[in-house]
């Protein structure tokens, strides 16, 4: 993000915070329902300083990273196989057509019965959320690569695996990145929802469970503190991590679409 854009954002956030505080100060709503910013920030500070929130963040992030990593490998393997076999491509396309529009959360009841309400189940939902958009984008990326790259690969006597890794993969990087963004957004949402349902079965539970638990104790400042953390992580990943990857790759290479 550009500097003046950041300032713009900050100004709006401060203004919205002031409006919030004004509404709270009218006393029209019970502070149980609408806590003041002070109590929210205090709760956030306490949760962080006690280490409780950091553990939850670590739990959530580690599980989502693991899910994304596994999806990445699976997507590469599936796309690679589909380069070789038309029969497999046709099967894969059918599976994507069925699985892609299916929200991960819809699979939850099934997943609970299949693998119990643990880390494995959350991981399954995350992989389901990331894998299909990633495969779809990688496939589109591979298909939109100029024919000349394939010929160059052949000309320099690379085998199919080398062509895939050294030419097709970097050449389809803009599509890969777009797929990762969609995958991340879906996984992040699925993760929080799944944690709310599964948290109890885990020792830690994650951010979703953190919010859910706070709600059980009617600790609204705690709920808002959890929401703030989720928003901040979302912004950090989408606006900073992905943005910086883009700047160092497709922008630098002049490949941004």
């Amino acid at each position: 993000m550009k500097n003046n854009k950041i300032i713009e954002r900050m100004v709006w956030i401060v203004l919205l915070a002031i409006v919030w505080e004004l509404v709270v100060s009218t006393g029209k709503f019970s502070t149980l329902i609408l806590p003041s910013l002070r109590s929210i920030l205090h709760s956030l500070y306490l949760s962080i300083s006690r280490g409780e929130l950091l553990v939850q963040i670590y739990f959530s992030m580690s599980i989502i990273m693991q899910g994304i990593f596994i999806s990445l490998i699976l997507a590469m393997v599936l796309v690679f196989l589909s380069l070789f076999s038309k029969v497999f491509t046709s099967l894969l396309e059918t599976i994507i057509a069925i699985a892609h529009p299916l929200p991960g959360i819809a699979l939850l009841p099934l997943v609970i019965l299949w693998m119990g309400a643990g880390r494995k189940a959350i991981l399954f939902i995350i992989i389901h959320s990331v894998l299909w958009p990633l495969v779809l984008n990688l496939k589109t990326g591979f298909q939109s690569i100029p024919e000349v790259y394939n010929l160059i690969g052949k000309n320099y006597e690379l085998n199919k695996l080398q062509i895939m890794l050294k030419i097709l993969t970097p050449a389809s990087f803009p599509y890969f990145l777009a797929g990762m963004k969609i995958g991340w957004a879906r996984a992040w949402r699925a993760l929080i929802s799944a944690e709310m349902l599964f948290g109890a079965a885990n020792s830690i539970g994650g951010l979703g469970w953190f919010i859910f638990e706070k709600r059980s104790f009617f600790d609204l400042p705690g709920v808002f503190a959890g929401i703030i953390v989720i928003v901040i992580i979302g912004i950090l990943i989408e606006d900073f991590v992905f943005q910086s990857i883009e700047n160092h790759t497709i922008k630098k290479w002049g490949m941004s679409t």
């Binding site: 010929l151 052949k154 000309n155 320099y156 290479w253 002049g254 490949m255």
Partner: protein
Amino acid sequence: MSSYLEIKNIKKSYKVKDDHLRVIDGLELEISRNEFVSIIGASGCGKSTLLKLIAGFIEPEEGQIVLNNNEIRGASFERIMVFQEFDQLFPWKTILENVYFALKAKDLFTSKRKRIEVAKEYLKEVQLNKYFDYYPHQLSGGMKQRAALARSLVTKPSILLMDEPFGSLDSQTRRELQNLLLEIWYKERNTVIFVTHDIKEAVILSDKIIVMDDQKGQIKEIIQNNLNRPRRPYGHDFIELFQKLNRLI
């Protein structure tokens, strides 16, 4: 003595809807070592197809292509193609890395340092010494084609196949690159097979000009070009040859 590259009665057709369109139909051709050969003809006459067959990107349905008494099978380092498309360079690699890629693919030289040194040498040869660390998108079309030429030459192919490499350049840049190509050819002495639709270009560059017949999928005429080098696109002999070719197409 048999010639260097022999194309024996090859046939190639493409599927167009339910029909087979025969693009090359019993074509015969012989090319000597170190020769600079241009292939010209109307668009759709099969000149690019012929080049792809020699490259080994596609296979003929019938006939053989024999190089140095060996029938060619598939693409190879000994026959490297330069394309017309500017995006033949990998956009995610710098110019230097693009040339390095070719050396690494062929596994020439063991040390990275030596490879970089050789890659730089070839980039200097095409006058890109100031642009080693530039990405392709930062360069003009002419510079991209220079870099592509360096990448193609660095592995020392016996035959350089060029598919209208200067077709998308403005006329001044095209002249510069033609001169550069000739300079390199005098030095490296590769065999060059150059497809173009520009008659003038063919006359300036080549020893032998092959005119393709767009109806029969065969060669219409082979014209030996004995004009003195360096050639200028004027003068009686040049214009005569140009007009002769113009009538043939």
